[in-house]
């Protein structure tokens, strides 16, 4: 097996240059690569294009990078919960591409799978369709959408082995596996890193072939946005 372990987030991200296109796994704050984000904030690179379903909150997740003006453009499906984001957007400092969530997911999946373009019904008849090819199949209208890749994909898994195999937990899976496949360089951080052979081959969510660097992260905060419990 091929050993892809690196020491930590700093080492994993050390060659990411200004102006890179990055994908970040996560849905809201669930399943985000916390360690890689911290290291990117510390490194201070700028002019980044970030592909992420959401943009974090003011003081956590990608919000931390926004605060330091590292992000030039966000490609997302929903960007609420973030005042600084709104300020930069309105002032013109930040560009945003809003994409229907399913189209975003499928474009990323296509990018990793070598599919340059596909047809999807989402957004037909809306402003999302502006400038896009429309075609009818079996009486229904579809838009042509293209595959998305990134220079680096930053993903977070629950467990992983040093050959890059990943297992996710709960709904922290979300965009992580498809982004892992769509990154030219994919950097995975895991809560627990084990030796090859310790994970059941039948139960791997992301095969190691998609992962170029892996490390065991630490101090996961796993912040909850809407802590909701049974009424007592």
């Amino acid at each position: 097996m091929i050993n892809k372990e690196v020491k930590n987030a700093e080492e994993a991200i050390q060659d990411i240059p200004n102006g890179a296109t990055l994908m970040f796994g996560g849905f809201g704050l669930c399943g985000i690569p916390e360690n890689a984000i911290s290291a990117l904030v510390k490194k201070g690179i700028t002019g980044l294009t970030c592909i992420s379903n959401n943009a974090g909150v003011d003081d956590f997740g990608i919000g931390l990078m926004l605060k330091k003006h590292q992000v030039k453009k966000m490609i997302s499906s929903y960007v609420g919960e973030n005042a600084e984001f709104e300020r930069q957007l309105l002032s013109g400092e930040l560009a945003v591409d809003l994409i229907p969530q399913g189209t975003l997911a499928e474009r990323i999946r296509a990018g990793g799978a070598g599919i340059p373009a596909f047809f999807t019904p989402a957004g037909y008849g809306t402003e999302v369709a502006d400038g896009k090819e429309v075609r009818e199949f079996n009486g229904k209208h579809y838009l042509l959408e293209t595959g998305l890749t990134a220079d680096y994909a930053l993903v977070k898994a629950w467990r992983g082995d040093t050959s890059g195999n990943l297992i996710f937990k709960g709904t922290a899976r979300n965009f992580n596996p498809i982004m892992a496949a769509a990154g030219k360089i994919t950097i995975a951080e895991v809560e627990e890193l084990v030796a090859p052979g310790e994970l059941d081959p039948n139960m791997i969510h992301t095969p190691g072939i998609y992962v170029q660097r892996i490390f065991q992260g630490n101090n996961y905060e796993k912040r909850i946005e809407q802590r909701t419990t049974q009424l007592a």
Binding site: C30, G31, V79, R109, A122, G170, T229
Partner: protein, 219 residues
């Protein structure tokens, strides 16, 4: 009397068929889950990657790695499954989800829906709404009949940017249950308890079809 949000959710719960897979949007739709009768088996889908949403957790069960599309902490239930976002929308787009219930700002009499953008206001994004409305065969909208400023939300044509065309099949509001006819037009099906036909007619800007005696909802 006009229904409150729980009343709307209760009435929608009556639309749910045994054995169906359902995607519930944020807001009133989420409340619907509380009113599904025990003898009916349904599976709730969460577009961030889960089938079989269980009840909210007890304090000691809270798990940051288990949330719904509204980012609330949830639990699994017996028979749940977890998957990634592309699989989740493959499920939605492929027509495997039987029923979608979501909120709206406006619905037009041919079933167009607008629920993601208000010109001049900060746009937060459409999330999964455009995929849901472009994919589902059966879409029920849960909303107030009129906006806070008193304007009808059931229109001839939507004035706000569209989320999807010709997709809404039924609307349950604080005042009425309304079917959107395939050929266009709002058909009044039920009145909220104590709400008159006249009141509903007055609150509906689009073409409202009223045939015969309109019964009151039973909730």
């Amino acid at each position: 009397m006009a229904l409150d949000k729980y009343g709307i959710a209760k009435r929608i719960a009556q639309e749910i068929e045994d054995g169906s897979y359902i995607n519930l949007g944020i807001g009133i739709p989420t409340l619907v889950a509380n009113f599904i009768p025990d003898h009916i088996s349904v599976v709730l889908q969460s577009e961030n990657g889960m089938l079989g949403i269980g009840p909210f957790p007890e304090e000691d069960q809270v798990d940051a790695d288990l949330i719904n599309a509204g980012k609330q902490t949830i639990t699994t239930s017996k028979g749940s499954s977890l998957f990634h976002s592309a699989e989740s929308f493959a499920m939605i787009r492929g027509g495997h989800v039987d029923l979608t219930i979501l909120g709206a700002m406006e619905v037009s009499e041919n079933g167009d829906i607008a629920n993601w953008k208000i010109p001049g206001k900060m746009v937060k994004g459409m999330g999964g709404a455009m995929d849901l409305v472009a994919s589902a065969d059966n879409i029920i909208v849960a909303m107030q009949h009129k906006s806070r400023s008193g304007d009808s939300k059931l229109l001839k044509e939507c004035s706000l940017p569209i989320t999807g065309l010709r997709c809404v099949t039924k609307i349950v509001t604080d005042l009425a249950v309304i079917k959107v006819l395939p050929e266009g037009g709002f058909e009044l099906v039920e009145r909220a308890p104590g709400v008159s036909e006249e009141e509903i007619i007055k609150a509906t800007a689009g073409r409202l079809i009223v045939k015969g005696n309109i019964p009151e909802m039973k909730i």
